[in-house]
């Protein structure tokens, strides 16, 4: 079967004043269906940049990214927004829930862009919250939840639209060990049981071990094993 995500010769650079710094150079990568991939690498190596490109939040300078056959680098701004709504679930380091919405409403948010009825939306939200074991916290506001619980609500929000891929940028970066375990367990379950493709950026080797596959990004180059200059992972 063809890979879900095919990245070819991807180059991305940022301008800083007059000079431009190349962050990713001719990077190629295939990610298979139901794969749980962890991206590691030193700070500033371009992990978040790569993840943003895969998720369609940013545009590459050259090269292509195909997700299930769609070349997302050729989509317009609006087309990309629509594509994101249908195909990508996001999990952030700081959860990024909307503080004035309850857990239920936060999870319901992405469904507003679909044409599901109110009743169908309710079913989807309940299912997603059950999946992360927070059915009993539906009416709670984010500030009434612990960090781990908030991150689980965020996971529910990411999966409620049944997206093709899930992207997570340091999802356990702000959590204690136990909450991190829970969150990682969930992500692992999402890929192995439900069959979602998950791409996760992390600094934590323990977190990376949960993933089926680990790639190391350094100086814009991907490798299957850490290089000597990246000792914290050995």
């Amino acid at each position: 079967m063809a890979p879900v995500i095919e990245i070819k010769d991807l180059t991305k650079s940022y301008r800083r004043g007059s000079q431009s710094i190349v962050v990713l150079e001719n990077l190629s990568l295939d990610i298979e269906e139901s794969e749980f991939l962890a991206l590691m690498g030193p700070s500033g190596s371009g992990k978040s940049t790569l993840l943003n490109l895969i998720a369609g939040l940013d545009k590459a300078d050259s090269g292509s990214i195909r997700v299930r056959g769609t070349d997302i680098s050729s989509l317009s701004e609006n087309g990309l927004a629509k594509w994101r709504a249908e195909n990508v679930g996001f999990i952030f380091q700081f959860y990024n829930l909307i503080p004035v919405l309850t857990a239920f409403e936060n999870v319901e948010l992405p469904l507003i862009l679909t044409n599901l009825s109110r009743k169908e939306r309710k079913e989807h939200v309940t299912t997603a919250l059950r999946l992360v074991n927070l059915e009993d916290r539906m009416e709670h506001y984010p500030r009434q939840l612990s960090g781990g619980q908030q991150q689980r609500v965020a996971i529910a929000r990411a999966v409620v639209t049944d997206p093709t891929i899930l992207v997570a940028d340091e999802p356990t970066g702000d959590l204690d060990r136990r909450s991190a375990e829970e969150v990682l367990g969930l992500m692992e379950k999402l890929s192995s049981v439900i069959g979602k493709t998950v791409v996760m950026v992390t600094h934590d080797p323990r977190a990376a071990k949960k993933a089926g596959n680990i790639k190391y990004l350094e100086k814009g180059v991907l490798a299957n094993a850490p290089q000597a200059s990246f000792p914290e992972c050995i």
Partner: protein
């Protein structure tokens, strides 16, 4: 659900929202009051009829015209009715009880002013009584006068104490009509003057001329003034509107200033509201970035931000309008003598609403532009 979110956003910072709402409320209130003061000033003009002309001494209002002009004016083509009168300038007990009082040729004058509505029986007894007088409803209420009461005015221009009997009370046909005036028979004034100062008898302060049709041109007024050209008392004839405007133009500068201030108030509150919205949106940049990440387009963000801005301004505007009425009443009670007609006009309310809509939109424009244009990644403050 987005609507719910919009309302919750508006009340997220209760204190900030409350202060902004208060500010808008006060701004709308003062805007409304200032506008009402301006329109009260113009009330006489608005109430003036298009078919009435005023003929007065060309030198100045304080110089009289001979009584003999009446018949001559009546002979001018297009003239239907001629009345006459004098500013009496009488004082009731004390100077602070000021109100306008005129000696008028009563029958013709009331014919010229159908907007003064008087019950037929009262009108009749007023005509029969030599010392009879007719007053506006508000004036009668102010001094507790009832039909049959004796009223004494101390003359300033015409010496002596003048006795009158209240025979009729008029009410305005609509709210723009001044109900604070006092009229009595010119004949009573003239006959008394014949006795005490014969030199000053048969002198008229102004002629009120009723035209058959409202299309009055410069030629119409000239045809009256031409009659008295090169006589010892030349005349100046104007439409009633222009005549009233003449009074106002004295205070035109003040009016302009008031109008300017009312605009400035709106501009200031616009800046305050814009600042509130800018602060709120800046704080929530990462939330709007999440919306964009999830695929919500600029239209949704605009709806959320504009809606929030509108909720806040609408609240302030509503409160401001509700407070305008009691405030205008209190104001009218305090300075009623100067503004015989002091009503909050419908137009003022429309202007209030228009101003609030503009405030709401202006306050939202810049924050919307910011929220929409910031790249997602920097909006999230680094995704990770």
């Amino acid at each position: 659900m987005l609507l719910k979110l919009l309302f919750r956003n508006a009340f997220r910072h209760r204190l900030r929202t409350a202060l902004t709402v208060c500010g808008i409320c006060v701004a709308i209130l003062s805007f409304g009051l200032l506008r009402t003061v301006v329109s009260a000033w113009y009330a006489g003009v608005d109430a003036s009829s298009a078919t009435r002309l005023v003929t007065r001494n060309a030198i100045s209002l304080v110089f009289p015209l001979p009584l003999s002009y009446k018949e001559k004016i009546r002979g001018v083509e297009g003239v239907k009715l001629v009345s006459l009168g004098n500013w009496f300038g009488g004082i009731y007990i004390e100077e602070k009880n000021f109100f306008a009082n005129f000696a008028v040729d009563s029958k013709t004058y009331l014919d010229l002013y159908p907007e003064f509505v008087i019950p037929a029986d009262q009108k009749l007894s007023f005509f029969k009584e030599r010392k009879g007088c007719v007053v506006g409803r508000k004036l009668a209420k102010r001094f507790g006068w009832k039909i049959g009461d004796a009223i004494v005015l101390r003359g300033t221009i015409f010496p002596g104490n003048w006795e009158f009997v209240l025979r009729a009370i008029y009410r305005g046909r609509d709210k723009t009509i001044d109900e604070n005036q006092f009229f009595f028979h010119w004949d009573y004034l003239n006959e008394t003057m014949k006795k005490i100062q014969p030199r000053r008898a048969d002198q008229v302060g102004f002629y009120m001329v009723g035209m058959a049709s409202p299309d009055i041109t410069a030629e119409t007024t000239e045809s009256i003034d031409k009659l008295f050209k090169n006589s010892f008392a030349e005349t100046l004839t104007e439409t009633e509107k222009v005549f009233q405007m003449g009074f106002i133009s004295l205070s035109q500068t003040i009016l302009t200033v008031i109008q300017l201030v009312s605009m400035v108030v709106i501009v200031i509150i616009m800046a305050v509201a814009a600042n509130t919205m800018a602060m709120s949106v800046r704080e929530r940049m990462s939330e709007y970035a999440v919306f964009k990440t999830l695929g919500f387009g600029g239209g949704y963000l605009a709806f959320l931000i504009l809606g929030e801005s509108m909720v806040i301004t609408a609240l302030g505007c509503g409160m401001g309008i509700l407070l305008t009425y009691p405030a205008a009443d209190a104001f009218a009670r305090a300075v009623g003598e100067f503004f015989p007609v002091f009503n909050v006009a419908k137009e003022t309310i429309y202007l209030d609403i228009a101003a609030s809509v503009i405030i709401g939109v202006v306050a939202a424009v810049f924050p919307i532009w910011r929220a929409v244009s910031v790249p997602i990644a920097s909006g999230l403050g680094r995704i990770g």
